[in-house]
Every structure is written in C-alpha cells, then in structure tokens.
C-alpha cells in the first residue's frame, strides 16, 4: 500500500479563556505559556503525526471565543473534519456553554449528518485545584449529547493533550473512510479534458 497523507482540519471551540490556544500550542510545540495573549482573529498550526499506521497532517484551527467575534469566526468552520468542544473545569459557565458551541458549529460548518459528526470534548485546566465541573457531570453531558469521547486535559502539564488529538484523528478515520481526504504524496496532475472542437451554432 502506498503511503498516503491525510490532511485533517480540526477546530477548537469554546468560551474565551478556557485554554484553546494553550492546548494547541502544547500539542504542536510542546510549550506552555501561562501568559499567552488571548487570540484575536483566527490562527492555525499544522502537526504531522501517525495514528494506527496512517500518516496525518492535522491542521488545528484556533479562534477568538467571544460572542462578538462570531460572524468573523464562523466562516472558518467550513471543511472541518472534527471539532474539539473545549471548556475549563474551573469555569462552570464555559461548561454550560458547550451546547451552544456545538449548535453554532453544526450550523455554520454546514454539517450534513450532525449525529455522526466526530466531536471530542475537552475539560481543560485539570491542574487547578478549585473545580467547578466534576468529571461525572462532564461525562454525563458527553453521553447524552452523542456519546462523545471526553478527555480531562491540562495544557499546563500536558495531561491528555496528545491523547485527545489522537483520539480525534481516530474518530475521523474510523467514521470517515472516504478517500477524498487522502492526498497521495506523489501529486498527480489532473489534466483538463482536451475539448473536441465544439460548435456553438451551426
């Protein structure tokens, strides 16, 4: 079998300050900066990885979480293969908003079969001591909303970050064996069809 690299677009969504950029940076650069700027606009980073023998390039998109930026954030949902719904375990409101983020994503990403779309839920900041959201609550929400995998992560100490992304990739690959994501590493030039002499009127 020839080596194929899949380009998968993954998007991190969740309230401002739950740690979306930190999760992305931890995963891609393996660094953590507690004082990282909040995201303005839209950013993305690429990460190559191998999951179960599949070569994958993850394109991880990170957006500004505030409601006000919605209209200029949502266009970037298009073409996502997976959505990481993120909240912070020390912020109950960010947990309560998960449903809104899911709704917003499905609507703007124009997901054809929402019940089949691979969401993964991340409860970030498990390193902090004062939790407002229990593991059970979060697991229950995931179960009731489509049996999504749930990971308690810490971008700060790297807990579960890589695992969560790998699970995201597995979910995409498992449910989606479509070949159209698979771009052969040897690029194939698609030729335009040479047209036979056509006449538009006789």
């Amino acid at each position: 079998m020839t080596t194929k690299t899949s380009l998968l677009k993954v998007i991190l969504l969740g309230d401002g300050g739950v740690g979306k950029s930190s999760i992305m940076n931890r995963y891609v650069t393996n660094k953590f900066d507690a004082h990282l700027f909040h995201t303005i606009g839209v950013e993305f980073l690429n990460k190559d990885l191998e999951v179960d023998g599949h070569q994958v390039t993850l394109q991880i998109w990170d957006t500004a979480g505030q409601e006000r930026f919605r209209s200029l954030r949502t266009p970037f949902y298009r073409g996502s293969d997976c959505c990481l719904l993120t909240f912070s375990v020390d912020d109950n409101q960010s947990f309560l908003n998960l449903g809104n983020w899911k709704k917003e994503f499905i609507y703007y990403a124009d997901v054809k079969e929402p019940e089949k779309f691979p969401f993964v839920v991340l409860g970030n900041k498990v390193d902090v001591t004062e939790r407002q959201v229990s593991t059970e609550e979060a697991q229950q929400w995931c179960q009731e909303n489509g049996d999504y995998p749930y990971y308690e992560t810490s971008a700060k100490d790297a807990t579960n970050v890589a695992v969560a992304f790998e699970e995201a990739v597995r979910r995409v690959l498992a449910m989606d064996e479509r070949t159209d994501h698979l771009i052969p590493t040897d690029t194939v030039k698609l030729h335009r069809k040479p047209r036979s002499a056509a006449t538009c009127c006789s």
Partner: protein, 663 residues
C-alpha cells in the same frame, strides 16, 4: 491543432466573416466575403485568439458575397422560409443579430477561371490569423445591423481585418474575453463603452492566471456561477460551460474549504463590489500612472525641550500644526509622551491653559471614581442577576491575565499594573455598558496605561481612543468591515496585480489583516514600536486613515514572497499571522508615507480613494511638504521594483458585471 493535447479550446464560433473590401484597397475583392471560425485557445497557458477561414469546404464558385447595395445584386437562395426560420428559432435566444441577416442579400460571386481553386486556398490562408491575447491592445465592438469587432494589437503596424458576426456570437466572444480576464486584464475603455482595452499582463499576472486555469481551481467558476450578470445573460450558459469544462477537467471535484470560507467571509463583509461604484451603473476603469514612489526621510523624536517651546506662558500649545508634523515625522521622546498623548488623543484641548486642564482633570477624576464605585458596589447577589456584567467581568479577569505579561508594568503576580488594567476596563463597562468589554480592548488600553502611569488619565485617554475605534468592537463589527473594504480599495489602486493574486487565492477580503486593524498593530510590533506607531497615527497626518497605508506598506514588503511561494488562502493567513514581532516600524513608516505622497500626487484619483484618505475634504497632508524648509526630505525618487502597480483603477458596476480592468 485539436489533436495537440496542450491546446484547449475555450471558445469556438463558426460563421464569422471577414469583409476584405473594407480592409483592402483592392477593388477586385470588394465583394468578397470570407467565412471562417473564431476560436479562443489555451495553448499551454497562453491564451490565443485564432481566426481560420473555412477549409476548402466551400467551392470558390459558391462563395457568398454580400453586396452593399442589395438592389444591384443577384439574389442568393436566401429564403425567409422554413430553413432560416428554423435556424432563427434555435438560435434566437442569443443570436439577436440573426434578424438582420434576412435582410442581407447575397449573390454568387462571378466564377473565376480554373486557377481559382489554387488561388482560393492561397487567398484563404491569407485571411487566417492568430494572436496572443497579451498582444492585444483593444477590441472595438461596432454595429451596422450586425456586429463586428475590430482588433488592435500593441504592435501598431500589425492590423487585423474586422470580424463580422453575421450569425451572431460577437456578444459571447466578448463575454468570454471578459470572463477570462475579468480578474486579470481586460477592461472597457473609459470614454467608449464599445471599446475594450487590454492591458499587458505582467509576469505575476500571467502566473496567477495560469494558476486559475491549471490548478483545477474552482474559484473563478464559482464566482461566475454567482455573478448575476452571468446568470441573467440568456444563452450564456452554453459558452460558460466551455469554460467550466476547460477549467475543471473531467472529474467532479469537491469544493475546497478555503473557497467556502472565502465565500462566507464575502457574505459577512459585503460591499467590496458596491464600494467601487464611481458613477452608478457605469463601468469606468482607466489606468492612471501612479508615478514613482517618493523616498522620504524621518526625523528624531520630539524632545521635551521642543515640546515646551510649543507652549505659551499660560500653557496653551502653539503652532500645533507644526508640532503635529514633527511628531508625525519622528514620534515623541518617551518623557514627553505622558503629557503629549493627552493632547494627541483629545483628552486635553490644544488651546487649553494649564489652569483649565487642572480643572478638567479634577472634574474627570470625580467622574471616573463615580463610575468605578458603581461596579465596585455591586453585591454578589446583584451580580448573580446581571449576566452581562458577570460575563464582562469574567472575560476582563481572564484577558488582563493575558495582556502584555512580559512587560515590566504587567509582569509577575499581583503587579499593580494588572489591577489598574482590570479596574479601568471594568469602569469602561460602566461608562459604555452597551459595548462593555470586547476582546482586543485590553490591548488598546495597555500601552496607554503604561505611558500614563495614572488610572484616571489612562481611563480618559482610553475613552478618547475608543471613540475612534468604537465601531470596530460593536455588535456587527461594522468598523472592521468598512476598513477591510477600504483597504481592499486602496490595495487595488496601488497594486492590482497583487490584489488579483489575493483574489485568486480566495483572499480578496483581506481577512488576514483582521488583527492588524482591530488593535492597530498592537500584536505585530514590539511594545516600544507600538508606542511610536500610535503617536504617529494620532497626528492624523499625512492623511486620513493612514493606518490603512501602513497595512499597504507591510503588504508591499510581503507580496513578493506570497506570490513567489504561491501561497494559498491558508498559507497567506499563516504567513501574515507569523509576521508578528518581525516588522521594522521605521521601514514601515517610511514606506507608508511614501505611498501616501505617491497617491496624493496622482491626478484623477478615483473618488472612493480620495474619500478614504480624505483628500477631497481637507488639505491636511499638503502642508506637510510645504512646511518642510526644502524638499530635501525627499531624497530620491525610485521606481518600486516590485510594484506592478502605478495603475489606477476605478470600478463600477456595469449591468451588474464586475469588471476589473487596466488599460
């Protein structure tokens, strides 16, 4: 020809005639009518127009000749009967010219002798011609009952016979030309709606055009599909399909996400097309030479001594316009900032006395603490019932912890700077509860607080700054949308080739400049450079919306890389995001000022551009050069090597058709 796999036919139409008599003095041929086919070919990336007379399918003795005077000619079997009627029906939809062909009389050309056949083929090849569209100067559409086109090539000595569309098809031909170059290089001449001008495609343009064709790129096609002009033109789809086929190859492809993203952004940021409207309903696009970009010099920052010299004994600022020019040219020494920023931002009136300012500060201090007390005194229960205040507060707390934390003023835990940043933002929520707190505002406040080192002064300076920036943060972000459209307008004037490239990469909405515009380059430059840039911008010199020219200056430095590396939508966004902290403020300010002077010296600026830069309302920029003792600050004029620009572009909607043109 067609067997050559590298040649693709984009358009083909038979029944296109040459009237040799009108192009030729040779009286013998005055009645000759050459019939042939016209094609547009994509020959290995080069777009070729080819005219070929019909091969020897027509016996020379059966040649059709049109007499100018129908009464003097022998009637050809041109019956208004069944056959032509049928033709009429099948072609009527878009062959409006067909009507008149019934009125044209034909006669047999007097049969010549035996050598006619040989002569004929010789004669026929004589009328064949091909030319590359890049050699085309203009196409003129004329009507004399039927339509005919006159081509002019850039090589003036090469004249081509007019092509007569007795069987229709001229409109489709022109539409096709227009479509092909709509984002590249055809335009309609400003003074003559029937004449199309064709620009020289430079290398970058050809490159991007090739990309459009070769990349199995759908964007052009998608735009065509959306274009109301295209969809309303009857009979057009047939021709368009040729282009579709030529562009998309054999397989149906998925739409690429970047295109979908771009389409959606286009819905969010409307107005790019409408904005270009000079005179409603008419397309006027001409080329104006922008001329060379002047090289400018910058000066040393204004010193404390200079500052006090601009004060009268009672503390009024004097010679303010000169003062502003000096600040524009070199910025401020840090020691002056605390005082000068209050004037630049409008907290202090320039003509106020020291006493008046002290009084103002007392009033403003009371006002500030009154508002601060309001949120300070909200009880926990009240807060529980006030979700908006709670949300603002929560986000402010988070963002204060993530703003300029490497700066001394804000670093570490429990730094008083952090408390001030928080309190001022909370108080601003009470000052303007509708707006409240929006992400980005902490970036705008941080340098002001750093300079003021005073809660009340920083608050009121921030209020003044927010007055300018308010629209950017409002619910609909109208300010952001307006700025993106304005920037797009400027970029098209300055550098159409680059703009076309961005457009071809679904990046014409310039979304990648979002962060630049929302927080005025705060994240792009080092903290000290942000201070310099902001004080320069607050002088309102050398023109209105100077920050947009700062964007143009940065893009001007990056365009080469972007186009050479053939960056697509995602790469452009990534590249621009990653410029952060790598930019040189002085280089940018040099270039931006140069661009301003370059545009300003240009006559016949499009109204939209003059409006954006404020050239038609006031002369704020003109005194800039006047005030300099000599033009010595303009060291040299240099042609910007990278600039494909020097083109002036105005664009309006003609029949709803977006046409980008240069001449």
């Amino acid at each position: 020809m067609a067997s050559d796999p590298l040649v693709k036919i984009i358009y083909e139409h038979e029944g296109v005639f040459i009237h040799p008599s009108s192009d030729d003095d040779d009286g013998l041929e005055q009645d000759l009518l050459v019939s042939g086919s016209l094609r547009i070919l994509d020959k290995d990336g080069e777009i070729i127009v080819e005219y070929r007379p019909l091969e020897d399918t027509v016996d020379p003795s059966n040649m059709l000749c049109a007499g100018k005077d129908s009464s003097s000619v022998v009637e050809w079997a041109q019956c208004p009967g069944e056959r032509s009627h049928q033709l009429l029906e099948t072609q009527q939809s878009y062959e409006t010219e067909w009507d008149m062909i019934n009125a044209v009389s034909f006669r047999k050309r007097p049969c010549s002798n035996g050598e006619g056949s040989l002569n004929h083929s010789h004669e026929k090849s004589r009328w064949a011609f091909t030319f590359s569209v890049s050699d085309l100067r203009s196409i003129t559409l004329k009507e004399e009952g039927w339509c005919f086109l006159v081509f002019k090539l850039k090589e003036p000595s090469a004249s081509l016979p007019a092509l007569h569309f007795h069987q229709g098809g001229s409109r489709e031909f022109l539409d096709m030309i227009e479509i092909i170059f709509v984002y590249v290089y055809v335009c309609r001449a400003s003074d003559d709606a029937t004449c199309f001008l064709v620009s020289t495609p430079n290398k970058a343009l050809s490159q991007s055009f090739e990309n459009l064709l070769d990349d199995n790129n759908y964007s052009l096609v998608n735009k065509l599909k959306k274009d109301p002009y295209v969809t309303t033109l009857g009979g057009f789809s047939k021709v368009t399909n040729y282009l579709f086929d030529a562009l998309r190859g054999t397989e149906e492809q998925q739409r690429r996400p970047p295109e979908e993203v771009a389409d959606l952004l286009g819905e969010v940021i409307p107005g790019l097309e409408i904005n270009q409207q000079e005179e409603p309903g008419f397309e006027v696009i001409t080329r104006i030479d922008l001329g060379t970009r002047p090289q400018v010099t910058r000066r040393e920052p204004l010193s404390a001594e200079d500052w006090t010299q601009h004060q009268d004994p009672e503390g009024r600022m004097i010679n303010v316009s000169h003062l502003k020019q000096v600040i524009f040219k070199g910025g401020l020494c840090h020691a002056v900032r605390k005082e000068a920023w209050k004037f630049l931002l409008g907290y202090f009136p320039w003509d106020s006395t020291l006493e008046e300012r002290k009084a103002l500060q007392r009033t403003k201090t009371d006002e500030y603490f009154r508002m601060k007390l309001q949120w300070k005194s909200v009880s926990e229960e009240q807060e529980r019932r006030n979700s908006r205040l709670r949300d603002y507060k929560s986000l402010i707390e988070k963002d204060v912890n993530r703003t300029d934390r490497t700066n001394r003023f804000y670093e570490g835990i429990d730094n008083p700077g952090l408390v001030l940043l928080h309190d001022i933002l909370m108080t601003y929520c009470m000052f303007d509860f509708d707006l409240g707190y929006v992400q980005g505002m902490s970036d705008l406040l941080s340098p002001i607080l750093y300079v003021m080192e005073n809660e009340v002064d920083a608050f009121w300076c921030f209020v003044s700054y927010m007055d300018q920036m308010h629209q950017n943060f409002e619910e609909q972000m109208q300010g952001m949308k307006t700025q993106l459209v304005q920037l797009s307008t400027l970029l098209r004037l300055l550098d159409l080739a680059f703009w076309n490239y961005l457009e071809s990469q679904d990046s014409g909405y310039l979304y990648f400049c979002f962060r630049w515009l929302l927080i005025r380059f705060k994240r792009e430059l080092s903290f000290q450079d942000v201070l310099r840039l902001w004080e320069v911008m607050w002088t309102d010199l050398p023109c209105q919306n100077f920050h947009l020219l700062v964007c143009c200056a940065i893009l001007d430095s990056e365009k080469q890389k972007i186009m050479e590396e053939n960056y697509g939508f995602n790469e452009i966004l990534k590249h621009i995001n990653e410029l952060s902290m790598k930019l040189d403020i002085e280089e940018i300010l040099h270039k931006a000022e140069g661009i301003c002077l370059q545009i300003k010296s240009c006559k016949d600026l499009p109204h939209s551009v003059s409006t954006i830069l404020g050239f038609n309302t006031e002369a704020s920029g003109s005194d800039l050069t006047d005030s300099e003792s000599s033009p010595a600050h303009i060291v040299s004029h240099r042609q910007d090597a990278c600039s494909n620009g020097h083109r002036h572009l105005t664009e309006t909607s003609h029949n709803g058709c977006k046409v980008a043109f240069i001449s």
